[in-house]
Symmetry: C2
Subunit: 159 residues, 2 copies
């Protein structure tokens, strides 16, 4: 195995977890900055050619884990791996952001759903999508149907 | 930070790294099994409702990292965060797989690009896609254009 180390930190308008929209249908249009540490800046070369990025980050406020989780607005418990619960065996999070521009070691992005100061472990280019018509979305699709919200499959901020 | 621990291991037809298709246009239609450890099986409940999953795994064969990387068939070096090089500051990998079926703690999937025995850190439901028309794919798109291959944005196995 390896020892995780931050490659940078998120500058986010969310100062506390409680302010971040959660649950089925949550949108994340907020802008923020992925501030990469100077020693890793060279690793960003050519990243500005990509419109979207995967950000792997740490749920550093989560304590322990639970194998069952009831997401907001859900009464039923689901397995943790069928949810985006922060209380996971490895507290890893994944967000797709839109890259607006790069300034040196700072990536200005739309779609942040992290608390200010969150440690970032990795950034990868977003290269391909599963077509909406081939996507089944389990309990999330069921919950959307109950709420009457439209399943476009394209609310990319809400993993 | 936290100490990564495997939640399971990949059963893959690839016994060695060298056999895995790499580079621009690589396809990964191979089937394999995500064998989750018995103590985490309860965390899989309801996962069978999702057609696609994110798998976060470890490049456990990678040694050290390099901030610049020339992918196969590319002459130019790119920043590591604009590539899927295994030699990253945190050796984390991300693959989107299609879930074919679940049998207890075993997830039968299509789209494996891992070596047999690779440790898995996390599994998350795939919920949304960036529409192809909104996606820019940087040097990968340029390389495809040079090769005359078609950019459908839908080769989901090839992150």
């Amino acid at each position: 195995m390896f020892t995780p180390k931050p490659i940078g930190f998120v500058l986010s308008p969310f100062k506390e977890k409680a302010g971040i929209p959660k649950g089925v249908g949550a949108k994340h249009p907020e802008e923020g900055v992925l501030r990469i540490l100077p020693e890793f800046e060279a690793g960003l070369e050519d990243i500005e050619g990509f419109s979207h990025l995967y950000v792997i980050w740490v749920f550093d406020k989560a304590e322990g884990f639970s194998l069952k989780f009831a997401p907001p607005s859900e009464e039923k418990l689901h397995g943790v791996f069928a949810t985006r619960s922060p209380r996971r065996p490895n507290p890893l999070a994944l967000t797709v952001v839109e890259l607006l521009r790069r300034e040196g070691a700072s990536l200005y992005v739309r779609g942040v759903d992290m608390v200010d100061g969150t440690p970032i472990l990795d950034i990868k280019p977003y290269l391909s999508s599963v077509p909406v018509e081939k996507m089944r979305r389990g309990w999330v699709g069921d919950a959307e149907a109950r709420k009457g919200s439209k399943n476009t499959g394209a609310t990319w901020g809400a993993l």
